[in-house]
Symmetry: C2
Subunit: 305 residues, 2 copies
């Protein structure tokens, strides 16, 4: 299986959190086209068993393959943590890029003391993939792993700032960051890596608890740079601008899309096709906050996996 460099890049997430990664990809790779698939009918993945996450991830990968993508970005930390090898096996030799390794890279670049806090869903944190990826780069790292499942619901509900978000951030981080005085002599992490693509919208609430000196990093920008490097290494970088290419219709889509039409107007948004498994209106409304630009419900196509 080979694909032309003019083919789009497939981006997959359990829902809308991966739009924070797509945002970085659009900034890093303005000449590329994207197919973003959010499995909104079955989110959250973070509380499901690894076996179920792998099964769902393979279904999503195959749907994107059917759309002719030239590489796959697994923009979901949970799926990256437990499903990346299975996806690689299935779509070989197309490049598959997850968000765990880039996130670990960002954390290791940011930390000075080597004491890092990893925040993520139950499944991501309990699987230990972040911890291993950090220790591979920095064997002397000290890592505190913090499951923070409720952050997903807060982000989805649009309650990512304000008193409630801060009290939840304090619930997860208070003991570690506020419970230590200078007198205790105990070390506090100097870096937090946001190991879930939903979490970047909660940065200000986290900042309110941990103070101004702790570095808060996520995997979005590092992932975008890894994707650029992988495309170049595989001769897959697009040589034409995204605007010149019409976006193809999704076969079997349950809802008509205006993406192909919009693409002819040469708007930047024409570079992206949004696909979800449920709730186009909700995807557009909540997803706009994650992508940083408005998404119209009629830009979102629905498919069954």
């Amino acid at each position: 299986m080979t694909r032309p460099s003019s083919a789009p890049i497939g981006v997959f997430d359990s829902g809308i959190g991966g739009l924070t990664v797509l945002r970085a990809l659009l900034a890093e790779l303005p000449r590329e086209r994207f197919r973003y698939l959010g499995d909104t009918a079955r989110l959250p993945y973070g509380t499901k068993t690894g076996e179920t996450v792998v099964r769902y991830s393979l279904q999503a990968a195959e749907a994107l393959l059917d759309l002719g993508v030239k590489c796959l970005v697994v923009a979901c930390n949970t799926a990256s943590a437990v499903g990346l090898e299975a996806i690689r096996d299935r779509v070989r030799p197309l490049p598959v890029i997850g968000v765990i390794e880039p996130g670990a890279e960002a954390a290791c670049l940011a930390t000075r003391s080597g004491h890092i806090a990893v925040m993520g869903t139950e499944r991501t944190v309990s699987g230990g993939a972040y911890q291993q990826a950090i220790l591979k780069r920095r064997p002397d790292a000290r890592i505190d792993a913090l499951p923070a499942q409720l952050f997903v619901a807060l982000a989805e509900e649009g309650l990512s700032e304000g008193a409630i978000a801060e009290s939840v951030a304090r619930h997860y981080l208070g003991a570690l960051f506020e419970g230590h005085g200078a007198e205790s002599g105990e070390s506090v992490p100097d870096t937090i890596v946001l190991g879930c693509t939903h979490f970047p919208v909660l940065t200000s609430a986290i900042r309110a608890v941990v103070g101004p000196r702790v570095r808060i990093v996520d995997s979005a920008e590092t992932t975008a740079r890894v994707v650029r490097a992988e495309l170049a290494a595989n001769g897959l970088a697009s040589s034409s601008g995204a605007q010149a290419l019409g976006a193809a219709q999704v076969p079997g889509a349950a809802q008509a899309s205006s993406v192909a039409e919009a693409s002819s107007t040469a708007e930047p948004s024409s570079a992206v096709q949004f696909i979800a498994t449920d709730g186009a209106e909700r995807f557009a409304r909540v997803g706009s906050r994650f992508l940083g630009r408005p998404i119209r419900p009629d830009e979102v196509q629905l498919i069954d996996l």
Copy 2:
């Protein structure tokens, strides 16, 4: 399709919230056996479109039919609100009991002023089923509908009491219940109906916001009484004790169960068989809070829908 009165009662929910209904059923109908199916792989239903909820509900109903149940309790408000008629059509003539009508009945019995607040998921509240069921009984009722999606995540996370739960309760209820002074002369609901089976575990947080005089009701006990009446009307009430009957194994179950074994010891728990679509350990751990008694992970069988 007919079933003997010795057959079990099927109870269906999107996840573990329906265990609050099962708890009431066990108290009301101690001689019956139950099959409880939680679609934990695909929860929450409350943010999904109606079409998807109906499709998932029919799959769950058919799985319970295959287990030989004599009637179905749809212990999920979202599924009751949008899927009840479709389920009735599919399993006719077996009785199907939802939780919306009993919840509305409980609210109308509790209110004096006729001013009622309905709390539920986005989907339940926007569908208007509760509002219609209340107005059918009490045409002069004044109803405030309050979507409270984040309550589901709080309950699932075990954060159903304390400062965070209260601040979320204030977010949803504060404007309505605390924003009115006696001087404003505006009416405040005298009754809140919890239109989601997850919400009863949040009663104390709700109480902290609305004060001691507002009545807080849910559909669990009323539903159990309706089930008793339906069984009697259809000649389906069990004439033998649950303890005397061994619980059958689930065909095709992915995990061995010890329910049949436990049933021979005549423990009350032998009357129930727990089935989930993902996460037996999580079902047992979080579900125990909803059922009000411990559930062991090996009591939970996993199936695919």
